[in-house]
């Protein structure tokens, strides 16, 4: 599994955002948005993240996430469907011509920081 690579991506982005002055102080929490159509298991990702930041200045940072459901827009009837299982047929007209519009997100949504700590 590649969750360690993704966890490294989270760490890299957190550090880049700090270098760019987006946040300062002590990071308490990083909140992610993880699409259901990504090949990522958030629990594994959190485990990898915790292990990788141990002993660093990011030790103890909470990694939380929300799932982003899979949605697609039908190219035939224009309606949007939300999919909970694989098989992306339009739920309005049954067409297979569905363009996935949501569910591939792999984002850091927000950071919770304590700015009183230098």
């Amino acid at each position: 599994m590649h969750e360690a690579s993704i966890a490294q991506g989270v760490i890299d982005e957190i550090c880049r955002l700090r270098a760019e002055g987006v946040w300062r102080g002590r990071l308490v929490r990083a909140h992610l948005r993880v699409g259901k159509l990504t090949a990522v298991v958030p629990d594994y990702l959190a485990f990898c993240f915790g292990a990788m930041v141990e002993g660093s200045e990011l030790a103890g940072v909470a990694l939380t996430w929300e799932d982003v459901p899979v949605r697609g827009r039908c190219l035939d009837c224009g309606e949007t469907s939300e999919f909970t299982t694989v098989g992306f047929l339009c739920m309005t007209c049954g067409s297979p011509q569905v363009e996935i519009t949501q569910g591939r997100e792999l984002l850091i949504d927000s950071l919770e920081v304590d700015e009183d700590v230098p």
């Binding site: 991506g9 694989v86 297979p96």
Partner: protein, 228 residues
């Protein structure tokens, strides 16, 4: 610590941004050389190396200059099999007991540095055998090609939807074995359609040579488009 002292900073940044930056750089390099790059993704044993063993001589006969970047977590067996065809083969990431599960844009970048890109029309990336992880990582390639061998079962598109969602072409391999299996080609069609109706598909048997002409024609079109 009391929650009042903390502040929420909205960032909305892509976790794979670092990989995608390198993938974009790779794409620019490939465009500069007019080089067509094809990323082959499949389960272990679907026939990526065998397909290349049949494809490379056919390309050479047509005057197409190809090279291969092979990702393998252990052994140089695939690279050794391909090297006899006289094309540049770069093996990246060899770990005695297995390492990573996918190739990233930065590993492709290291591989690229070992090849004379000017002398090439087509670069294959033989990804690590795995239908999950490689699907998530953009390498800067022109197209992803998923291989699905008939011995794996027709349900694989449903089990590994992302690989078939992000691919531009699926090659159904080892079709010479269909008469010996319970494999249901119609059910495979329905499963592929359910996951990605726009996915192009070619059926082939590298061993028998069935479908290779259509595959070579598909590659020709990709090469022509890459030249711009």
């Amino acid at each position: 610590m009391s929650p009042e002292t903390t502040r929420k900073v909205g960032v909305v940044t892509n976790i794979l941004a670092a990989n995608e930056r390198v993938a974009d750089e790779n794409r620019r390099v490939f465009a500069r050389y007019g080089l067509c790059v094809i990323n082959l993704i499949s389960s272990p044993g679907a026939g990526k190396t065998t397909l290349l063993e049949k494809t490379l001589p056919a390309l050479a006969a047509k005057g197409i200059r190809a090279a291969v970047i092979v990702g393998d977590i252990a052994t140089t067996r695939d690279a050794d099999r391909l090297a006899v065809h006289g094309v540049p083969v770069v093996q990246i990431m060899t770990e005695a007991f297995g390492g990573s599960c996918h190739l990233e844009a930065s590993t492709i970048r290291m591989g690229m540095e070992q090849i004379d890109l000017y002398a090439l029309d087509l670069l294959f990336v033989e990804n690590i055998g795995n239908l999950v992880c490689p699907a998530e990582f953009d390498l800067g390639e022109r197209a992803k090609v998923a291989l699905l061998s008939v011995t794996e079962g027709e349900d694989k598109p449903l089990k590994y939807p992302l690989a078939f969602q992000v691919s531009n072409l699926v090659l159904v391999t080892k079709v010479d074995l269909v008469p010996h299996l319970d494999f249901d080609l119609e059910s495979l069609s329905a499963n592929l359609q359910a996951v990605n109706p726009r996915l192009a598909r070619l059926d082939l048997s590298a061993r028998r040579g069935t479908g290779l002409d259509a595959w070579l024609a598909w590659l020709d079109a990709q090469i022509a488009a890459s030249r711009g």
